[in-house]
Symmetry: C2
DNA sequence: GTCTATATTGTGATAGAC
DNA sequence: GTCTATCACAATATAGAC
């Protein structure tokens, strides 16, 4: 599989455009022509960079996961305590949703997962595993420091938190509300942590 | 807009097939040919019952919401206390997911909402409003009876609970896990509400 | 109500010139 | 790398016979 770090400047713009289209319309909701028009080149030029659609979207998901990992590392550098880290984590989702009510790339693709090419579905799966693993460690740390008092396991708390944030984006969109995932995240944190 | 209660027996089978296809592949992920093959008639016959795709899917969402309201009423008849009602509510989602990891019709359509015909998007919006309204009343009742001790408002607790359940289906699918929304629902009920 | 046939448009993908 | 031209096919949708 191609790696996003080894692609040309134009290919980067193609991935940028495809990322936005996936967030707004899903895998089956956009075409190579849509990408071409956003980038400002013709359809066959998109195929030159990414011969198959599943390749393009797999790279979109791959890069998205990588950037998320960078963001998680950045949070660790900026916040020492578990509750602050979880608040910063929720803010990642809020920032995504704030831009045209965009969905998480892997939230959208996750919903479509059963009708996705394997190469894409496995990238999506990896995104969730990476996030759950990180959240689990943060929650466990918070419990150890008695900053999180819930008696549920770190694993199920991490999963519930992630699901609440992903769900908030889907429901917010479905209700055509401009309210982002922050409130749902806060409700969860406020009730679980204290 | 056509009402689902006034359609012919064959049209009912068409809606049945379309409902499953929406849950598994989304609005943009299935075609009239897919519906035709499931029902066992030809594509133009589907058009005879539902001339436009948006009409068909709008009826799918309309009927889905109606059935949900019936289920909510049934829960009220079977459970008196708020926590029991919320557990039964989560079980509705679990049953949907248990069948081939199907998504909530409006969870799937909610994710796609921005690229949906208005007639469909407004039905989806209504589904969420109906559910949030019901959940809010149940939560408020639970708080009045001191069975739910969280100090957050009934409104935000209702929203967080719904988002957690919808999100659990999306994440469960994205992770290709067979674990349904029940665990997330339980975590929420156990840690957040009490 | 269902069918065959067809119109029309869109879609992923390729060939080959520049 | 980008383009024009084109393919093969799938999509929504309609006309009109039975």
């Amino acid at each position: 599989m191609k790696h996003f770090s080894e692609i040309s400047p134009t290919a980067v713009r193609v991935v940028d455009a495809a990322e936005g289209l996936v967030q707004q319309h899903g895998y089956n909701g956009f075409s190579y022509d849509d990408v071409a028009q956003l980038v400002g080149i013709k359809k066959p030029s998109i195929h030159h960079h990414f011969p198959k659609k599943e390749e393009l979207v797999a790279v979109v998901a791959q890069r998205y996961t990588h950037r998320f990992r960078e963001a998680l590392l950045s949070i660790e550098g900026q916040h020492a305590k578990a509750p602050d880290r979880l608040i910063a984590y929720a803010a990642l989702f809020e920032r995504t949703f704030a831009k045209d009510r965009r969905l998480c790339v892997c939230g959208m693709l996750g919903a479509e997962s059963d009708s996705l090419p394997e190469a894409v579905a496995s990238e999506v799966e990896r995104f969730f595993k990476v996030n759950l693993e990180w959240l689990k460690l943060v929650v466990a740390d918070g419990q150890r420091a008695a900053l999180i008092t819930s008696k549920s396991t770190a694993e199920v708390l991490a999963e519930a938190f992630l699901c609440a944030l992903e769900g908030a984006m889907v429901v917010g969109r479905g209700m055509r509300s401009s309210r982002g995932p922050t409130e749902v995240g806060n409700t969860f944190l406020f009730s679980v942590l204290t």
